[in-house]
Amino acid sequence: MTVKHHLTDDLLMAYSAGDLPEAVNLIVATHISLCDDCRAALGSYDVMGGAVLSTCESVEMSKNSLNSVLEMIRTQDNGVQERSAPIKLKDDVLPAPLVDYVGGGLENVRWRSAGMGVKQAVLPTTKDATARLLYIPAGTAIPDHGHNGMELTLVLKGAFQDESGYFSRGDIEVASEDLNHTPVADISEDCICLAVTDAPLKFKGLVPRIVQPFLGI
């Protein structure tokens, strides 16, 4: 699988630094699960974090620090452990981070209708940003909208097309405030996406603006 649309450097760096809302972390982790390029780029930002840690001025630990730590490791020690692959549920559509948040595979997603055949499921994260799975029937358009903030859309199944390109499994669209777009699901199959927003969407047409509260998007 070749991913063509990647995470931006600022998102990778902020994920490495641990500075993103949970919902954004979730979409970053999910994209990286599908994209070795971004996994490698993240690796390099983690190395940079290590370099920053190494250049920190030392701050003296308290007097009993070492003793308390030694006491903790002696009482908790579970000996030498073998590295082994964790046995986890595998899902063909949902990478591991999403399986965690859904609490299972695709069949466990609790979809709610959002009208026009579109379904959505909001995932449980902190409130500073929202992560939702979207199910868009083949050939269906999501109404033309802009954003008050950022919108990240990661394709998990099928594909969609909008003014900025063609996105298939693993591709992520990073849409800023100034992008107005009308994503249309590819006609060949239904499309499932993970979408993250840090502010409500702004729809351009009147009708979508009226239904927006019902869609919850």
Binding site: T8, D9, D10, L12, M13, A14, S16, A17, G18, D19, P21, E22, N25, L26, V28, T30, S33, D36, R39, A40, A41, L42, G43, S44, D46, V47, M48, G50, A51, V52, L53, S54, T55, C56, E57, S58, V59, E60, M61, S62, S65, L66, V69, L70, M72, I73, Q76, D77, N78, G79, V80, E82, R83, S84, P95, A96, P97, Y101, T125, T126
Partner: protein, 197 residues
């Protein structure tokens, strides 16, 4: 600011004077903790990284008491998770940074951190020594490049990791040699994927 020509009192001489060993310091100690639960090696790791982790956590916004408590927990995690340490995938400072970073998210942001799907482990039990040395050396070089940056630019990068600055301002203008490390990790991933087939 620190004089890079002098080592620290706690014995980081070789970290600042360049690559005198085949492998960066602390790798052997972490491996000893991992493979033989070597307490003396752990105490050395504690002596070097404890004060830096505490400092790092204070810079991210913790007061001294909380940073002390969290730094202790980070070092306990180093001991408990040593079996996950792989010297071909991370230098000790990189690995300990990720543990400290996760602690920060847990304590300051009070949220879970979704992690990417684990890669399947390759069939070879021991990583290629050349890969280990290559990655460790490049990580060291990056550290030196960071220390050699003009102060203002270095502070910018540090602030990004402490959470004081928007990342978009700096991500693509760090001027640091991230490309070599990215290529190395990318190659390692390709080999891993290949060996899985």
């Amino acid at each position: 600011m620190r004089d890079p020509s002098k080592g620290d009192v706690d014995g980081t001489e070789s970290l600042t004077t360049g690559m005198t060993n085949d492998v960066v310091p602390w790798v052997d100690d972490l491996v000893a903790v991992r493979d033989t639960r070597d307490e003396a090696a752990f105490i050395r790791v504690f002596g070097h990284f404890g004060p830096r982790v505490k400092s790092f956590l204070m810079r991210t916004g913790m007061d001294a008491a909380l940073a002390e408590e969290c730094a202790q927990e980070v070092l306990v995690t180093v001991w408990n998770k040593a079996h996950l340490y792989d010297a071909s995938r991370a230098s000790p400072s990189t690995w300990i940074f990720t543990i400290a970073r996760n602690k920060k998210i847990d304590v300051l942001r009070k949220q879970r951190r979704p992690e990417p799907e684990d890669l399947p482990w390759g069939p070879e039990a021991e990583p290629d020594q050349a890969d280990v040395i290559g990655l460790q050396q490049e990580s060291e070089q990056l550290g030196r490049a960071l220390r050699d940056l003009p102060e203002k630019q270095r502070e910018l990068i540090e602030k990004a990791y402490f959470g004081d600055l928007s990342h978009s301002e700096i991500a693509d203008q760090t001027g640091l040699p991230l490309g070599t490390i990215k290529s190395r990790i990318r190659l390692a991933l390709e080999r891993l994927r290949h060996s899985m087939k």
